[in-house]
């Protein structure tokens, strides 16, 4: 089966599109789908019909991703929409994230699982606050690749000067951030310039198109293969005749490589044992690495439950109850110093107390604000928490899976904040 083989070899790029409202994100995605022939005929007919009904001049490609009634009515994106497409070289999962400042939390949602971010700016407006906010969040979440798409070039006469000015402004902004790889592409999502096909109107631009960049950006492994981390998700005790004494620890490898025979340590107890087998439905495996979901059995009977972590004795995560975090606050209710919140970190749940708010970020200037520590919706701040039980964690930059957590309201159960462990 040729197709099957081909797909199996193709790798996967998860990316987000972000930028301010009306920068044309949804149109850009629509254009990518349309020009890669991913849009199906019935979808196209649907949006043609709707565009006509609304009296729009051309087919409104944004209607493809704005899936909610409220989004189509208001012509804005409220929540992340996920789209899937493939070219012969790669499979893509793209998250179209909202541009409205009010919905920044949904942008953070999309960004937390992305390897690359397309940041759109309107050529007429240049780099604005939302551009900075989204780029800063992308760098905070360790998205290694950014593509700055200067959109609506058709509205500025395809001017190279305009493009260069925006590029220079953006370079100044990101010089203070930690981003590995940035590309700049002038595009017109509406007319399709430099999206999939090269623009005839901008001969001065000699770089690759957006799709070519997406297909060829180098994806170093995002997965940490050094620090063995296995948060126990679920203890498997089948208690059937056949597997009467089976006791396995189900979970997903969040770092490093585990092999049968490896000496391991269980946190928080500190007991050590050896891996007797790594089991799966399809039979035992010789090694397990991220992001495999497996079941580990040990030589010794140790008390292990959900939320514990299996590691290697010579490479342990940090263990502490006092944790320094950057947070993106995602709720209308402000953060309250001294209040208790629920934390979810790997498979562990605990409570924590907000001990200190160190500073709030000014997104535009990247300055620390220390005289106004009111943290509300969409604010980014550095805080210190103390948890009721120790957490086993790594620096987010070393391992995003063991370096991230969320804060939950203990009364309403809503997710309040994304936390990045420093």
């Amino acid at each position: 089966m040729e197709i099957k083989e081909q797909k199996r070899e193709a790798d996967l790029l998860r990316f987000i599109t972000c930028g301010s409202v009306d920068d044309g994100k949804s149109t850009l995605i629509g254009r990518l789908l349309y020009d890669t022939k991913t849009i199906f005929e019935d979808q196209l007919q649907n949006i043609e019909r709707t565009s006509q009904q609304r009296g729009e001049e051309y087919v409104n490609l944004a209607l493809l991703t704005d899936g909610l009634r409220a989004e189509r009515e208001q012509g804005i994106t409220i929540d992340v929409a996920y789209r899937y497409f493939a070219t012969p070289t790669r499979k893509f999962i793209m998250a179209d994230t909202p541009g409205h400042i009010q919905y920044t939390r949904n942008m953070v949602t999309g960004a937390s699982t992305a390897n690359l971010a397309i940041v759109l700016v309107d050529a007429r407006k240049g780099v604005i606050e939302q551009t900075c906010r989204h780029t800063f969040i992308a760098s905070l979440l360790k998205i290694d690749h950014i593509i700055l798409c200067v959109n609506k070039m058709d509205l500025v006469g395809f001017s190279e000067e305009v493009f260069n000015k925006i590029k220079a402004d953006f370079e100044t902004f990101i010089s203070r951030l930690d981003i590995a790889d940035v590309s700049y592409i002038p595009v017109s999502a509406l007319q399709g310039d430099n999206i999939v096909n090269r623009s005839e109107s901008m001969p001065w631009y000699e770089g690759p198109t957006l799709l070519y960049t997406l297909e060829n950006v180098h994806l170093g492994s995002d997965l940490n293969l050094v620090d063995a981390r296995f948060p126990v998700q679920y203890v498997s005790r089948p208690q059937t005749t056949e597997y009467h004494d089976f006791r396995g620890y189900a979970g997903r490898v969040e770092g490093g490589v585990f092999k049968p025979g490896d000496e391991v340590m269980v946190l928080p107890s500190g007991f050590t044992s050896k891996i007797s087998a790594i089991e799966t439905f399809d039979g035992p495996v010789a090694e397990a690495f991220p992001p495999m979901s497996v079941t580990i059995t040990l030589n010794d009977e140790i008390d292990i439950s959900r939320g514990d972590m299996i590691v290697k004795p010579n490479n342990q995560p940090q263990t502490s109850q006092d944790i320094e975090l950057m947070i993106c606050w995602m709720h209308e209710k402000p953060l309250v110093k001294g209040k208790k919140y629920i934390i979810r970190h790997t498979t562990r749940e605990a409570k924590c107390l907000v001990k200190d708010i160190r500073y709030k970020m000014n997104i535009n200037t990247l300055h620390k604000i220390e005289d106004d520590l009111n943290i509300g919706l969409n604010d980014i701040a550095r805080i210190v928490i103390r948890s009721t039980v120790p957490l086993f964690f790594d620096d987010y930059r070393r391992n995003a899976a063991t370096g991230s957590l969320i804060l939950i309201d203990e009364f309403t159960n809503e997710t309040l904040a994304a936390g990045i462990i420093l």
Partner: protein, 302 residues
């Protein structure tokens, strides 16, 4: 080929789905797997076996039966449940109608699709399920493209798409207040093609109606409906015999066939890869209005 620590795309999807199923079982008390006998729920059942092996499925399967099924689907459902030793609960839309909870649609082509919601919610209440696994995929439909893996439902089982919980990394917040429940969608990131490739790779069995066969159908506004007791011919309509198969399996009253010679998985994969219309284009239930799916989902639909 040099060995590298890299999972194939399908294995990555599989690992993600298994992680999500385990997470839901760990976080909730009374899970249930919604099972229709269609390809997506067959993949779900398979993934659930993988997730909890060597234990049996730690939850029952629930079929919300409209009574408008393809006989082949029901036959296959019973075969599979028996084969994997699962526990099956069936609740019927007819019972909901008889109890006065739901009312049959009027017209020549009454669909029980929307009524399934009523039956589903009664079953969730009856068994006090606090999480229901669904096989919905984000690539299926534009409202589903907005869905979270862990999707909160309020005490009226409603989905509030404008106010979903942020879902960060793979930290899933399944905390809820009494009376609320969750829908969990482990196949969110799978596409139709991924499902078919996975079925081929794992050599999963499927109901025969997915493969090409001869059947009497009627063409109703472009939707090819199979001849059955649930269809009343309108003026000018007539049945004709065609070589068809079904890309998606729902009620006989609303699931359209596609003309196709694809009689094995390899042909189906080639057909799906080259398809120019979505699988739901053949679903009369989605063609009712632009926001048909969103509206049904808000009410508590799958």
């Amino acid at each position: 080929m040099s060995y590298s620590y890299k999972l194939s795309y399908l294995k990555q999807l599989e690992a993600e789905s298994i992680y999500i199923m385990r997470e839901a079982v760990a976080q909730f008390e009374k899970p249930v797997l919604l099972f229709s006998g269609g390809k997506d729920s067959i993949v779900m059942a398979h993934l659930a076996r993988k997730a909890f092996w060597p234990a049996k499925l730690p939850f029952p399967m629930l079929h919300v039966d409209t009574g408008h099924n393809f006989p082949e689907t029901i036959e296959f459902r019973d075969y599979l449940v028996n084969k994997i030793g699962a526990r099956l609960i069936v609740r019927t839309v007819q019972d909901s109608i008889d109890q006065g909870l739901a009312e049959e649609e009027k017209g020549p082509n009454p669909s029980r699709n929307g009524l399934q919601t009523v039956t589903l919610l009664s079953a969730i209440e009856e068994f006090k399920f606090d999480v229901a696994f669904g096989g919905a995929r984000r690539d299926e439909e534009k409202a589903r493209a907005k869905e979270r893996f862990f999707s909160h439902r309020d005490e009226f089982s409603q989905w509030d798409p404008k106010n979903q919980r942020p879902e960060l990394w793979h930290l899933y917040n399944g905390r809820k207040n009494p009376g609320e429940h969750f829908r969990v969608f482990p196949l969110s990131n799978w596409t139709e093609l991924d499902i078919w490739q996975y079925i081929a790779e794992e050599e999963l069995e499927l109901p025969s109606i997915y493969f090409s066969h001869q059947r009497e159908i009627v063409n109703r506004q472009g939707v090819l409906l199979a001849k059955s007791e649930f269809i009343t011919l309108l003026k000018g309509e007539q049945y004709e015999e065609k070589t068809i198969r079904f890309r998606t399996v729902g009620d006989m009253s609303c699931t359209g066939a596609v003309e196709s010679p694809a009689s094995n998985l390899e042909d189906i994969i080639a057909e799906v890869a080259a398809a120019r219309v979505t699988e739901r284009a053949a679903r009369a239930d989605d063609q009712r209005s632009e926001a048909a799916m969103e509206d049904r989902k808000k009410q508590g639909y799958f």
